[in-house]
Symmetry: C2
Subunit: 327 residues, 2 copies
């Protein structure tokens, strides 16, 4: 049987790292953070990661689960245009998971910390019948430079990073048990190892290019709705411009539609943002290797519409993930 | 069926409050906090609150569960000597709890926010078969004034606030179903509604009276061990001085021993702290109505011993709560 102290020691070992900016880290009642430079503002987000909702122990390797738990939460820091500082983990764990499974889970999470520039600052552990985790990630942004959902104006261009629908295709292949087929390995990668767009978020925020921003966690149709609602505007999405997942012909014949995956598929963790037209010419085609695509325009009319290839406009209803509606 | 947006709206309504110090609260990807005055340091803690571990839906009224979930986490802010700023809630919830139960749970939590001076800054909600919550509480402390576990020196006096063992007695009465007896109502109160000692913590930190501090969440014997280990010292606890819970004769005859409850009972959330002898005369007997008692002394020898009434010293082994060992 593992005691809580032994468990905390194991967690600490996995995350041994620089304590830059942390006056007190793990091991006291709370962590103490030094204020950032130049009166920087703190950006804080929390995210649940629960067995049988966000991952399945029978399907997801513990290494991938640990990585993804932190990547999902960190994506919200990217969506504010902030830099990473530290994170906290609360973890409920069955006794049967407190050996090798936990080592791999923490190993995946530690890999994510190195990628994202995060240090573990604290947390809480408990025995529980299911693996239930909650991640709190703390970032920092120069005063007034955080990019909110509420800043979009009619006429702003709508942009997205990367490709949409890749994570959803990956999830469906995993659930259909087609994932053991080696040739689809690349297609399931985005589902297992999403990449928070931290460098792009910071780049956009530092230059004040983005007027509004969100990460595509619930799917384009749902997340765009959040920007529109917060900003009091509408949007027109040009179907032909949406950078949709590349679906092999064989899978298309099985019913996998690239545009539908791109419009409603969740968990890509790309950045969806709006850019005033006057600065649009300064946007690069790629930032740090991540492509940026203009996919539409914000409108005064408070509706979200999809402009189809042949020019007709149809309503684009939120069709993404809602944990209370079921997927 | 409740959608996530409807749920978030209900949560927001319960916690409508001032946004002082929050540039962005609920409703964006993350919260944005203005830096505190005078380059204050941020104090952050996270705490899990899980059904069937930290509370039982059949035993605990939702109002008490909501209050206690936040009180437990906030106690860590008190134990650092910090002021409260804001908190975050991640919540997994069965569909059957998303009506009245949730209203009362949030109501209890909202009452706690008013008591502790906290505003809700963000969170995450998901449907789940069990009620699983995680609380992140953010506080603030003047630079270098946070009171750590590691500052105790041999010769420092050991002090504790309030009375110890009250919450444990309350818990046992609740579990023994004796709690419906009206005359024990007062005895179970501390189990349902613990009181983070925020004013006392701030008072001690501001004056630099406390050299080390922790809150008694796991029980005196366990929490004192944490101070000793972090500080590299030992302690002698004077049994006769420990302010133990007052147990009615009838319950004492049933086996409820006041000193045992006080030494090992968890969840009192009192402050356990050490004070250098040279400032001990400045300690008040009560701070804001909360009594302070000197119960022992820190020692060079790295053992924790209990000095019994007749003068003999016996080892005081950690006997408190450890979620991985079972209670």
């Amino acid at each position: 049987m593992t005691s809580e102290d032994q468990l905390i020691e194991r967690v600490q070992k996995k995350f041994r790292a620089s304590r830059s900016g942390l006056r007190v880290g793990i091991g006291d009642d709370a962590a103490v953070l030094r204020p950032g430079s130049g009166r920087a503002e703190l950006v804080i987000t929390t995210d649940a990661f629960l067995e049988n909702v966000h991952f399945f122990r029978k399907i997801h390797a513990p290494e991938a689960a640990g990585y993804k738990a932190l990547a999902r939460a960190t994506s919200d820091i990217a969506a504010m245009g902030a830099r990473c500082r530290c994170f906290f983990l609360t973890l409920g764990l069955p006794e049967s998971c407190s050996g090798t499974w936990l080592d791999h889970f923490l190993g995946g999470m530690a890999r994510a910390t190195r990628r994202f520039g995060l240090v573990l600052a604290g947390g809480d552990t408990t025995r529980y019948p299911l693996v239930v985790a909650s991640l709190t990630v703390v970032g920092e942004v120069d005063p007034g430079k955080a990019v909110l959902r509420s800043g979009a104006k009619p006429g702003d261009l709508l942009c997205v990073s990367g490709r949409l629908g890749e994570a959803e295709l990956g999830l469906r292949l995993v659930l259909k048990k087609r994932h053991r087929q080696k040739r689809w390995a690349r297609l399931r990668r985005k589902h297992y190892y999403p990449e928070p767009r931290l460098a792009l978020g910071e780049w956009l925020a530092a230059r004040r290019y983005a007027s509004a921003m969100i990460d595509t966690s619930d799917g384009l149709s749902t997340d765009l709705g959040h920007i529109c609602e917060a900003s009091g505007v509408g949007a027109a999405v040009w179907a032909a411009k949406v950078p949709a997942v590349r679906v092999p012909g064989e899978l298309q014949r099985l019913g996998f539609n690239p545009l539908q995956l791109a419009l409603h598929g969740g968990e890509d963790y790309e950045l969806l943002f709006t850019v005033p037209k006057r600065v649009a010419h300064r946007l690069h085609h790629t930032v740090g290797g991540v492509p940026i695509t203009v996919i539409g325009e914000m409108t005064r009319r408070k509706k979200v519409v999809l402009i189809e290839q042949e020019g007709s406009a149809v309503p684009l209803e939120p069709g993404g993930w809602d944990p209370f509606r079921g997927s």
